[in-house]
Amino acid sequence: MARKDNGANDESPEPLVSKGTAGEGIDDLGVPVDDDVIEDAAAAEEVDSDDEATAACATTGSAASAKKGTEAKDPAAKASDAKEADESGATAGLDDVPFELAEDTPDPDELPETGLVSEFVDVGNRQAAWLVSNRESTTAMRSPYFLVTAAVIILGVLAAIISGIVADVQKDSGTPTMAMVGVGEQAAMYEQQLGVKITDAKDAPAAEKLVREGKVDAAFIQDPSGQGQPTIIALDKQPDALLEKLAPKTEATLLETPAVDGAVATPLLWGMVALSLLVVATLGTALYQNLRLEKRNRITEIIAATIPPRASASGRVTGMLTLVVVHLVAAAVITELGLSLSGKTSLAFAMLPGLGWFALALLLTAWSVFALLVWASTVVGSKARATFLTIIGVITVAGFFAPVIIGPSGTVAKVLSWTPFTSPLGIAGRSFAGQAEWWEGLVAAGIALVLAVILHALASGAYVRSVLSGGGRGGKTVKMSKRAQKVGAATSAKGTAKSDSSADDADDADSDDTDDVDADKDAKAAAASAKESGTKKSDVKSGGEDEEDAKSADDSRDDK
């Protein structure tokens, strides 16, 4: 990198310094300032008053002796000696002050006219990405949206714990159903006696099948020998509504024991859906808006001219992912601590695997969503961007809702728990239901990771292309001529040069669609239309590009 002077020593452990830096000031540490040099008044009086440099060195050992030896010399000799003493004094000062304690004050004389200092460190891709990431996350954290989201999550979790929602067992609604073996025509009688709907099953396995298929809440199985007690079997939760109607009340044998009671798991999963949507939507919106803002305000170009665009794109995504981690950790810690403190330690432990897989899968899903948003922000045309955003939104929302609606059982649920976007809630639901093997979480996370990496690479590529093509200038083909023609036609038809400043056009214009290269064509078209209509400059107002066209038209007229 070119520097303005060669003062910096490349081999120095200090940062590369180009001019007027704190680092350079180290050499000046040995030069005392006037206020603190005259310790010995008598000695000071002996010094020629014109020779301040010599006096200034009086306090530093070697310099002092040098000065005393030259008292009788002529002024020229004194000046020469003063210079030498100054240098030796500086060296002595440098020896006296340890390097680490050197004061970080640049010499005003060495500073440029602007007073700017240069103290550089190497900025690699990682450091650049970190800088961008840091700004993204800091900005998002300061936004009210983030704070509201965090507050909603924390309050929601606390409210759920305090009100005992997680501990309450939901009562089943409606008439309970039960399968009985070989009841035949007596089913109606039992229904009347027990107040439950009875389904006749051929044998015990058939009854169990009905339970597994979810067609009945439980099955009443008599001991084949007739000697033992009959048993009631249920799928994965106690059919309390049914059991209450039986006397004496017994417990059902569960075919599939869930890690977390279904009554707890269901509201918990809905809470996790809300959490996921809040986190991804809030941070995703912040990310997208920021990207568009930078594009509009041309900050993208400044950044792209300074750091590698790919690092910039990565920094944005990692900044937001950091905040996802913050949200998840906060929610998980509060949930676990709350449950432990309210005496539900076993439930807290039972929830841990599901919460863990959920957090990991959600983090990777958020990565994919954020990468898609970066990609969407580079798309040319507001309609295309809106379509892209809609697709991202639908995929995300559907992905979070589908596993909870479908439930943890069945092949579809298994597939969803491995599929990106549905895996956070899918794997969590199946984990709570005790239906997920330990390795399934890894599979889900692995697939989500692969997809996220692919999308990140594609989005980064799109971002780089978008930035390095000059934000649409000189590199992108935009149908500017058409727009200019449209504007011209509209203005001609109306008899005024009031350009069509529709939201779409304005949005396009303020973003990446502005095309200086084609601007002259637009200018000519707009100028022609303006000329035809013979209207004033103030009438030719519109946003973005149309305004540019109008200005061009005015300029053209001015030039003429």
Binding site: K19, D104, E113, V117, S118, N297, I299, A305, D520
Partner: protein, 291 residues
């Protein structure tokens, strides 16, 4: 010293830049002026590596530019804006740190520049709370905060009122004086003539004229107002030492003379003279109308 050698940019049948060559000297302010669509923005973006030129090279101190060199270029694009909700100081520091400058130096420079630009009391305000001219000054501060090796500003005088223009140009002058080439792209001919040392006049992607402002302004002109312009013009044309005689408007005749004495002597012989003055056509008058 930043040197462009025969830089060309084409797309399809259209040529945006055609073998543009010039040198922005260290310590001098170089203005790239031209009408709209002259190719100023494209040229600036090529300098900053945002667009790849089809042909030509850009050299800094006789070495071809690469990304690492550009890392400490101070760049300000046209139609710019900052982060509206971010504090002014944070904004300047952030953009400076991307260049690799340390946090301490960035903060120190930001404060120094805000002081220079009379924005010292606005450092902790969000950008959106500042006026347009103040925001324009903040943009300049952000560009210079990393003490850049080369400064490239597109649409350099946009948004600046008279007071801001004075502050900004004196700051840019001071920065240039530390041995930095400062390149300003603008369509403000008057400002370019006033504040730049060298001017590159661009038209339809080609360099029409280049050199120091003094050189481009050329010799002194004189203007005489008379009721009979035709007679005055023919009389002036017939005199030796008088050249470039043109009628200007209904009563004006402009001409060039070797010196003031010969100009005065020529005018003394004219009849019906209402006014006589020495004028020097501006760059815009000399070139913009021709373009």
């Amino acid at each position: 010293m930043l040197t462009l050698k025969e830089v060309s940019l084409r797309k399809g049948k259209r040529t945006y830049l055609d073998e543009v060559s010039f040198t922005a000297e260290a310590g001098r302010i170089t203005a790239i002026v031209g009408t709209r669509s002259a190719g100023r923005t494209e040229l600036v973006r090529i300098i900053m590596g945002l667009i790849a030129a089809d042909e030509g090279t850009i050299e800094l101190e006789d070495f071809e530019l690469d990304f690492g060199d550009r890392q400490n270029f101070g760049y300000l694009p046209a139609e710019r804006g900052g982060y509206p909700n971010m504090r002014v100081l944070d904004q300047i520091v952030y953009l400076a740190r991307l260049h690799g400058i340390t946090l301490g130096a960035a903060e120190r420079n930001a404060l120094t520049l805000l002081g220079h630009l009379e924005l010292a009391d606005r450092g902790y305000a969000p950008l959106k709370n500042l006026s347009g001219a103040e925001i324009a000054r903040v943009d300049i501060a952000a560009t210079l905060a990393a003490d850049p090796d080369v400064v490239v500003i597109d649409d350099a005088f946009a948004g600046l009122d008279a007071a801001s223009l004075r502050l900004v140009t004196s700051l840019l002058r001071a920065h240039a004086s530390s041995g930095v080439p400062v390149i300003l792209a603008t369509d403000d001919w008057e400002a370019a003539q006033t504040f730049a040392d060298d001017v590159i006049i661009l038209n339809q992607g080609k360099v029409t004229a280049s050199g120091s402002v003094e050189k481009l302004l050329g010799d002194q002109h004189y203007r005489v107002e008379t009721t009979d312009t035709e007679a005055a013009a023919s009389a002036l044309k017939s005199r030796t030492g008088i050249s470039d005689v043109k009628t200007v408007g209904r009563e004006g005749v402009s001409f060039r003379a070797n010196d003031a004495k010969s100009a005065a002597a020529a005018v003394a012989e004219l009849k019906n003279v209402k006014n006589f003055e020495s004028v020097r056509p501006t760059l815009a008058e000399q070139y913009k109308e021709a373009l």
